[in-house]
């Protein structure tokens, strides 16, 4: 790489790489060559590990493959119609949507609350910020294992509830409590990220606007609703979209806590995908589920583009 650039620096006539008539290595050609050399590893990796598998997964979704014989056969839309008629599909759709809504609502509300609290500039808020953020750096699996332990029927949470006279449910085995538990575990794991984003947004709200509102007689809540909330709307939109697409990718948590149970109540789409592809070794059906997952993410991204124009109050 270096030699190609040095050539132009050397006075014409010295021995060395191409300095032919009319100077082949013009600045433009140099830029083209070095630019492509620099991005080559990433570009090749993108072709091999992103673009190719993306096309392949669509291809596989229209085929059936027998893992034992290794034979792949064209199957039309069989895998997709299997997904439509699968008795588990309604439960999976329900679990995915409920998990997503629960996670987004609780996560965003809590992140905003924590950010507002930290933005009060009290002494010692750095300590609290560290505490609220710490689960983000704790290994997801270790965090989930610990909650699995705490949420056992005779585990820590129910022991504490028992001390104060409440008879807690068998969290991870109850039809409704299982989904609630999974949402809660995930909220506390990652809400710190959104909290930091909201905190940065709150810092960007001009003090003068708040003071003007205060002079106009607006109370704290009114100031928050009418000044702060519109000002931080770009962050709210972004964190919401990010949290939604994150909620579609909770796999380890489900596998460790509930394995999709009870009665598929927590069987979200990614877990259902894993079951079909790697527990049942049905790559054709699994690919169809993966394509559906990708389509959902794609639609969400397009909605994000549209919404940004309409909904967001201002964008710098």
């Amino acid at each position: 790489m270096t030699t190609t650039h040095k050539t132009t620096r050397e006075p014409a006539g010295t021995a060395g790489p191409p300095t032919g008539p009319g100077r082949f290595w013009t600045l433009r050609r140099q830029d083209a060559a070095s630019g492509w050399l620099f991005v080559l590893p990433q570009a090749l990796g993108f072709l091999a590990f992103v673009l190719y598998p993306l096309i392949a997964v669509v291809y596989y979704s229209f085929h059936t493959s027998n893992v034992l014989s290794g034979v792949t056969k064209y199957a039309g839309t069989k895998n997709y119609s299997q997904l439509v008629h699968d008795p588990a599909t309604p439960s999976v759709a329900r679990a995915t949507v409920l998990f997503c809504i629960g996670l987004v609502v609780i996560n965003i509300a809590l992140a905003m609350l924590l950010a507002v609290l930290l933005n009060q500039r009290l002494r010692g808020t750095t300590v609290f910020r560290t505490l609220f953020f710490s689960p983000v750096v704790v290994s997801l699996v270790a965090w989930t294992i610990t909650w699995n332990f705490l949420l056992q029927n005779n585990g820590g949470i129910n022991s504490i509830l028992h001390v104060v006279g409440i008879d807690g449910p068998n969290w991870l085995r109850g039809d409704n409590s299982a989904l609630v538990s999974v949402v809660i575990v995930q909220v506390f794991k990652n809400v710190g990220l959104n909290m930091v984003l909201f905190l940065a947004a709150l810092q960007g709200v001009p003090r003068s606007l708040l003071e003007a509102a205060e002079i106009d007689g607006a109370g704290a809540w009114r100031r928050f609703r009418s000044v702060v909330l519109p000002m931080i709307s770009p962050t709210t939109l972004l964190t919401t979209i990010v949290t939604i697409s994150g909620s579609l990718q909770v796999f380890a948590q489900i596998q460790i806590l509930t394995e999709g149970g009870p009665n598929n109540r927590t069987n979200v789409l990614v877990y259902f995908f894993y079951q079909q592809a790697f527990d049942n070794h049905d790559f054709g059906y699994g690919s169809a589920v993966a394509v559906v997952l990708f389509a959902i993410i794609l639609v969400l991204t397009l909605i994000q583009w549209r919404l940004r124009k309409k909904w967001v109050f201002y964008e710098s």
Partner: protein, 302 residues
Amino acid sequence: MSLETAARRPVTLPDAAAPPRPAGRRGSRWRKPLLYALMVVLAVPFVFPTWWMITSSLLPENEVLSYPPKLLPLHPQWSNYKTAFAHYPLAHQYLNSLYIALLVTAGTMLVASLSGYAFARIPFPGNKVLFPLILSGLLIPTEVTVIPLFKMVDRLGLTNTHWPLIVIPILGAPSVLGTFVMRQFFLAIPDELEDAGRMDGLGRFGLYFRVALPLARPALASVAIFTFLNSWNMYLEPLVYETDKSNYTLPVALTQYTDAYGSHLWNIQLAASVTTVVPVLLVFVAAQRHFVEGLAQTGLKG
């Protein structure tokens, strides 16, 4: 592109030393204690699980689920840690995780800074098309591409090796976030600095390596932190690609602490978990600001 807005701006944190806001007129006497009380209550679910993980890892097996709950191990049973290492290939798995995460981090820093530099500062033909295309890799969940990738790895005879855990993250979708962060940083470098470098006779690679890269330490630190943590914590990939327990990395290894009947050996499992969590937490507390600012940029991972 949508990814370049809002939170993609660098996140900076308030200074701890910022002047306190003058107390509000109403309820000023109760305001502070109430706010503190609220924060303490809210901190419980964030701190308590990690605390309980540590204390329970020191209890004898018959006390982990006893009632009333033991919040402090009065007679810590350190041998749980010995058991976790002696009866399971935990030391081996620990080394797997460590060397894989280090290689992936170093590789990603190189690949991402090279392409981030080119996208930011070299006007090569295709630049404007290639960048958004590669960036779209960020949108694709691991699960979507894992079947074809598994088939590819299998055809190459590389299942049950560490190759897919190292090469795919460095060159595939996970490194794209690093490229994005590096590009944002390199865009902000003033042209004058590079011009000065050119006067000194530096070529493109020299400008990248001698001028841009040394300035980019903060961005490189961010990339290093989130890349290391992503690799250290990856779960689906080792589950799919590895079959031998001795090839597992820590997250999958942690789920293996059960007795012959499949019931959990909680105290041993939690001891093993603690060994994967505490070192990271200590580094986090020491380099907090870097972590928060670095990880805030990874928002996309939800």
